[in-house]
């Protein structure tokens, strides 16, 4: 927990922050609208006697009064999926539309991939990539359990991800009846990068045990590479959402600052009806581009959640 002391200069009401980080998380699920309406999922939970509290900012996010939401009929049918409340933010900010081509660059274990697919009514294409082969089975398990048919799973390093499999003109015309989905750039991309996970300390109290600044700096290098590639692979005017579950400015605003300087993109404002603090422009001896204020920092004491960081970018000038 003392790792978090470095954020005292950033966080208003630091005592409340520290106290919230020491509490366990509420049990939160997302209704999977590919397989059930929110109303039917709620009715199934009511029938099973599982109490619930709605969340004002999203119809599909529910707090349940059980520690094991997986042990319900609603879960067996894939109508609900255990997903921490802040983890449901970035797909909402990405706001994909049915029929679009969307890249989820670091997709495993698939909570956000399946949420993206649901927001698209399972129409269009989600390219769910993860470079970690060991985590692909969880990704595949979750997409199938939740009934997703519009996702392609790939196993590449996102930093040099190639669109080649999706960018080839097929010579055979045997499938003239169906429209080709091949394309040269994504409409939207989610970059929910691997990070130092400081914000998950409420779920996993040992999350900070192996924390060290060298790791933060090394993972920030990877994050910059992935976000740069995401901007390159997204069409002009398209949306890229960058998110982490950490408080470290090195992995948040510093990554945005780097990519703003190197790639053709800009930060844009977004609304999400949850309490948050703006991105910061100064940290230790560093200063960042003023526009990183448009990003949002979600601290655990704000909404009784884990910690999270989210930024929305538009590709092009």
């Amino acid at each position: 927990m003392e790792t978090l002391e470095r954020y005292e200069p950033l966080v208003e009401d630091f005592d409340a922050f520290r106290e919230a980080c020491g509490r366990s998380l509420p049990s939160v699920v997302r209704v999977n609208t590919i397989k059930a309406t929110v109303e039917r999922a709620k009715a199934a939970l009511d029938d099973e006697g599982v109490g619930r509290t709605d969340r004002e900012w999203s119809d599909a996010v529910l707090e349940l009064d059980t520690d094991s939401p997986g042990s319900t009929w609603a879960s067996f049918h894939g109508w609900i999926h255990g997903q921490e409340e802040v983890s449901a933010i970035p797909a909402e900010v990405l706001a994909p539309e049915p029929g679009e081509r969307v890249w989820d660059a670091c997709a495993a274990p698939g909570s956000k991939t399946t949420q993206i697919a649901a927001l698209m009514d399972d129409e269009g294409l989600v390219v769910a990539n993860d470079n970690n082969l060991g985590r692909l089975s969880a990704l595949r398990f979750n997409t199938e359990r939740l009934g997703v048919t519009n996702a392609v799973v790939t196993n590449r390093d996102a930093r040099n991800f190639s669109l080649e499999p999706f960018d080839t003109d097929e010579q055979s015309s045997s499938s003239s009846a169906t429209q080709s989905q091949n394309f040269e750039a994504f409409d939207r991309t989610l970059v929910d990068v691997p990070c130092s996970c400081e914000g998950t300390v409420r779920k996993n109290p040992t999350a900070l045990d192996d924390w060290n600044l060298d790791h933060v700096k090394s993972v920030a290098g990877v994050q910059k590479g992935i976000l740069r590639r995401a901007v390159q692979a997204t069409k002009e005017g398209g949306t890229v959402v960058y998110s982490t579950c950490t408080f470290a400015p090195e992995e948040n605003e510093a990554v945005l600052d780097h990519v703003l300087a190197e790639e053709d993109c800009r930060l844009v404002e977004f609304e999400i009806p949850l309490d948050s603090a703006p991105g910061i422009t100064e940290w230790q001896d560093e200063t960042y581009d003023e526009s990183v204020r448009k990003a949002k920092r979600f601290y655990p004491h704000h909404n009784d959640t884990g910690g999270f960081f989210c930024a929305k970018l538009e590709v092009g000038e």
Partner: protein, 176 residues
């Protein structure tokens, strides 16, 4: 001779890539590969699921006999880890749908559907075989139960010799 050299041998199934199913038998190049028409017809004949249910989807084979369903279309062949959802096992006498496919598309089934009681459903999702009073066809059935006021498919069951077997995969089994 290198592996890249074209040969005169007929094309075969390649377990490393996804190939789109041919539309009809006339277009079939790989021996033994199911056609789109056969797949759609199978769901209609076995479960009464109307063929138009699958308009807008494409079907793919990766691994011998394993058919996947993808929303929309993409260039074939494609080398990726997964394409949509595992849907159906072919290249065997009795084709077998997956639990996930039946949960996703089985609501439209109108035949070979067995409605289970809550207790029977609990045994089914534990992966247990149970005796079943069923006068209909042997073979794969859509197993449903009442949830939130309507019948909802649990998955696919196999009915033989007066018993309903549950092929619910280990990772999906639950104690409910």
């Amino acid at each position: 001779m290198s592996d890249d050299q074209p040969t005169n041998d007929p094309p075969t199934n390649d377990g490393q890539q996804f190939d789109r199913l041919p539309e009809t038998a006339d277009e079939r190049e790989v021996e033994g590969r199911a056609t789109r028409q056969e797949v759609v017809k199978w769901w209609d004949e076995r479960f009464g699921i109307p063929p138009e249910t699958f308009e807008g989807y494409s079907f793919w084979e990766k691994g011998k006999g394993k058919i996947w369903i993808l929303y929309g279309e993409i260039a074939s062949p494609i080398r990726v880890e997964a394409l949509g959802m595992k849907f159906l096992r072919t290249r065997q006498e009795h084709w077998k749908p997956t639990t996930n496919a039946v949960q996703r598309f089985g609501r439209r089934a109108s035949k070979n559907v067995v409605e289970l009681t809550r207790e029977q459903a609990q045994r089914f999702v534990r992966g247990e075989t149970q005796e079943l009073d069923w006068d209909g066809d042997w073979g794969y059935l859509v197993a449903t139960h009442d949830l939130a006021g309507e019948q909802e498919p649990l998955g696919v069951g196999l009915f033989v010799h007066g018993e309903l077997q549950s092929p619910v995969p280990k990772g999906r089994q639950r104690e409910l």
